[in-house]
């Protein structure tokens, strides 16, 4: 890959990625180090916490596909995250599905939901697009609150963890950890592949200049819909996995604050970078977890960090590192 100096990208936008001819060595190395680190992580920190971080990392990465590479700010991603977690929890608890089938069920539901909502929302742009997605997400929230199978504000509780493929019991936290690791890592690699595919290049073209992409003959709406559905699907994958980890699905996952939180994670980590959103997710989840004893201060600290983040390094943590290294991350 070229390491020539590119112009500093416009605030918030990602460095332009070179056309892909296989994975650059730097990225290969990062993925490898990350994998080794994650393989050892459950023996260092509490595994359930590590799994939560990974679920949110995937969620943020999925959201970033839409915002960072598609240039579409959705304010309703909690709908897919929460919707999938409800479906997966229901499948595991009431239908007795194995974990991988439950997760697939949830993910499929999120994809369908993404297709319906996406098809309607992409007709509008900018703030209108964000508001339409928020409105749909609120509908999903209302559905989760009212539908008979969701348990109202109690959520779906005591979801069994079951046996993976009907063989490997996931009661053990370490076993479950590696299942979640496989899902998350696979998911993020897939997202990486999407971003670096010709499809991803077209997406970036649309993000940078939509009229020009249209004039070049691309059916812009089809690309937008596809990226919307992909993003919703992976958000759903994250939500469905989370429901298996915590053995519950609750309104928190479908609440609009969850949509806000994922925006926060993505911006803090670095919008339009591959490794940024997972970093942001890890940061936010760690704060929520380890600062829980500070009570009310958690949200205050989170707010202060966000303000500092957007004032001092607008490209996000990984965005700034990427600028220093003069390489896209």
């Amino acid at each position: 890959m070229s390491s020539e100096k590119t112009d500093p990208p416009a605030a918030g936008a990602a460095p332009i990625l070179p056309p892909s001819t296989g994975m650059p060595t730097l990225h290969k190395a990062i993925f490898l180090v990350l994998l080794l680190f994650l393989a050892g992580l459950p023996f260092m920190v509490y595994p359930v916490f590590a799994m939560k971080v990974m679920c949110f990392a995937l969620f943020a990465a999925a959201f970033n596909l839409l915002l960072g590479f598609g240039g579409l700010l959705s304010f309703g991603h909690a709908a897919y995250f929460g919707g999938a977690s409800y479906i997966a929890a229901h499948a595991a608890k009431e239908w007795g599905f194995t974990p991988e089938l439950s997760v697939l069920c949830g993910t499929a539901a999120a994809a369908v939901l993404g297709l319906i909502i996406g098809a309607l929302s992409i007709r509008r742009q900018g703030i209108y697009f964000a508001m339409v997605t928020l409105a749909f997400a609120q509908m999903v929230y209302f559905f989760a609150l009212q539908a008979p199978f969701t348990g109202g504000e109690d959520g779906i509780q005591s979801v069994p963890r079951g046996d993976l493929f009907g063989l490997i019991p996931l009661e053990n936290n370490i076993a479950l950890y590696f299942f979640v690791l496989a899902v998350t890592f696979g998911g993020i690699l897939f997202l990486y592949r999407i971003v670096h595919s010709p499809f991803g290049q077209v997406l970036k073209a649309i993000r940078e200049n939509e009229p020009r992409a249209i004039s070049l003959g691309y059916n812009v709406n089809r690309y937008k819909l596809l990226v919307f559905v992909l993003s919703a699907t992976f958000a759903g994958l994250a939500g469905a996995t989370k429901s298996q980890v915590f053995q519950l699905a609750s309104l928190t996952d479908a609440h609009w604050m969850m949509s806000g939180e994922v925006v926060l994670m993505t911006l803090l980590g670095g919008m339009g970078t591959i490794f940024g959103p997972p970093v942001g997710a890890a940061l936010i989840v760690t704060m929520q977890n380890y600062l829980a004893t500070f009570g009310a201060w958690v949200t205050v600290i989170q707010g202060v960090i966000f303000v500092i983040g957007v004032l001092l390094f607008r490209e996000g943590i990984v965005g700034v590192i990427s600028r220093w290294l003069k390489r896209p991350l």
Binding site: Y46, V48, F49, K52, L145, Q146, G151, G152, E153, D154, G155, Q157, S158, K242, F246, Q247, L248, S250, L251, T252, D253, Q288, N289, A292, T293, F294, G295, A296, W297, V298, T299
Partner: protein, 399 residues
């Protein structure tokens, strides 16, 4: 030589000290809302109450080394269950206290059962804790929505409030609260003349209150919680509903809420509680000490944390160990508890702590003599009448 001697004595003293300190280690975790809507009624006050219980139990003298930690679950089940798991697996917590917000409490109940810990729930209202999701390691101490509905519904109907109108928050919790209360009202010879489903959450109750006012009902039941109840009461006060002779009954309301509203606005409101600071000498004495430490009168949730901790420590002392949560809970179910705050308490086989409940009416500004002089007692409801009967499949003493 002298040095050796000194060293020897020091070592000996150290060993003796260690032997003396080797009592029963107990670690309690207070898990509640410390920043959100329930922070006032549980929050730091519950931690204060738990600490008072450890002091009053004289745990140190009895050879119990009790440590109390606390955390904020932010009313999110995933955060709450994450903390609970970590506490049990990594930090050696023996029992988790308080846990308001039903969704979090239900999640923690499961984790507690898996980890063989103890859940002493005071803050949550869901009856599922001792019914659909009963666990041998759960004790539900203070109240549940059925007991509140029973208390308010029964006592008010018997006192002549025959015709009821419900304002129901339109979600599962609101409907179950309405359904429970309506059953009690009808069983006691009353009738439900109307209900209206109010979207949740709601700011404007005026049209619903007008319907209720026009319905000719004696009692308007508020089957909602938190901010919704506060809004409804404020607007009812603007309409002069209680002054006009209709009774307003809050089905889930706490003393901190009444205190925040003030007697001017909340006057005449009926509500059920398991505890009120000005009940008798013992509650006054305890509440005064609590007030000195915390700066507010205790809610029933905080008082419940105190009582549950006392009973728990007694059971641990009797067993000589806090390691086996199931055994501690079984022991608590055997004990006859005479509590300074709740009176006679019996923990049933399903983990439901049964004690008397009381129906209160909020005083008028003329009757109230102080900032916290808020309630007058209308009647008391025996525990057996207040709480739902036990389900056979949840009776863990038989298993």
């Amino acid at each position: 030589m002298i040095r050796k001697l000194a060293l020897g004595t020091a070592l000996g003293a150290l060993a003796a000290g260690a032997a003396f300190a080797a009592g029963i280690d107990v670690k309690l975790g207070v898990l509640n809302d410390r920043s959100g809507v329930y922070a006032d009624l549980s929050g730091e006050g519950s931690v204060v109450a738990a600490r008072m219980a450890v002091e009053d139990f004289k745990a140190k003298d009895k050879g119990l080394n009790v440590e109390i930690i606390s955390a904020d679950h932010q009313n999110k089940p995933d955060i709450g269950s994450g903390i609970a798991r970590k506490w049990y697996d990594a930090e050696g917590v023996n029992a988790i206290l308080d846990v308001p917000t039903s969704s979090v409490a239900l999640a923690v109940a499961d984790i507690t059962a898996d980890a063989n810990g103890v859940l002493l729930d005071s803050g949550a209202g869901s009856t599922a804790l001792t019914r659909e999701q009963c666990r041998p390691t759960t004790i539900h101490w203070t109240y549940d929505t059925a007991a509140l509905a029973n208390g308010t519904g029964k006592a008010l109907t018997e006192a002549g409030g025959k015709k009821w109108f419900f304002l129901t928050a339109d979600y599962a919790f609101g409907h179950s609260l309405e359904e429970n209360t309506a059953k009690v009202v009808e069983a006691n010879g009353g009738e439900v003349v109307g209900t209206v489903d109010v979207p949740f959450p709601a700011q404007d109750f005026s049209s619903f209150l007008l319907q209720a006012q026009g319905s000719g009902a004696d009692v308007i039941g508020l089957a909602n919680a938190g901010g919704d109840t506060v809004n409804a009461i404020k607007q009812a006060s603007e309409f002069g509903i209680t002054q006009a002779g209709q009774k307003l009954a809050a089905l889930l309301f706490f003393i901190t809420d009444v205190h925040a509203l003030g007697v001017q606005t909340a006057q005449g409101l009926s509500l059920t509680s398991a505890f009120y600071w000005d009940q008798n000498d013992q509650t006054r004495e305890w509440s005064k000490r609590f007030m000195d430490k915390h700066g507010a009168e205790p809610t029933m949730v905080q008082a419940g944390v105190y009582s549950a901790t006392m009973a728990y420590l007694a059971a641990v002392e009797a067993l000589g160990s806090a390691d086996d949560g199931k055994a501690v809970v079984a022991k608590m179910k055997e004990m006859d508890i005479d509590d300074p705050l709740f009176g006679k308490v019996k923990v049933r086989g399903d983990g439901r702590a049964v004690h008397d409940m009381y129906l209160y009416e909020v005083k008028t500004p003329g009757d109230s003599t102080g900032e916290w002089d808020l309630y007058k007692q209308i009647s008391s409801i025996s525990g057996d009448d207040a709480f739902l009967p036990m389900l056979d499949e949840c009776d863990f003493t038989k298993k």
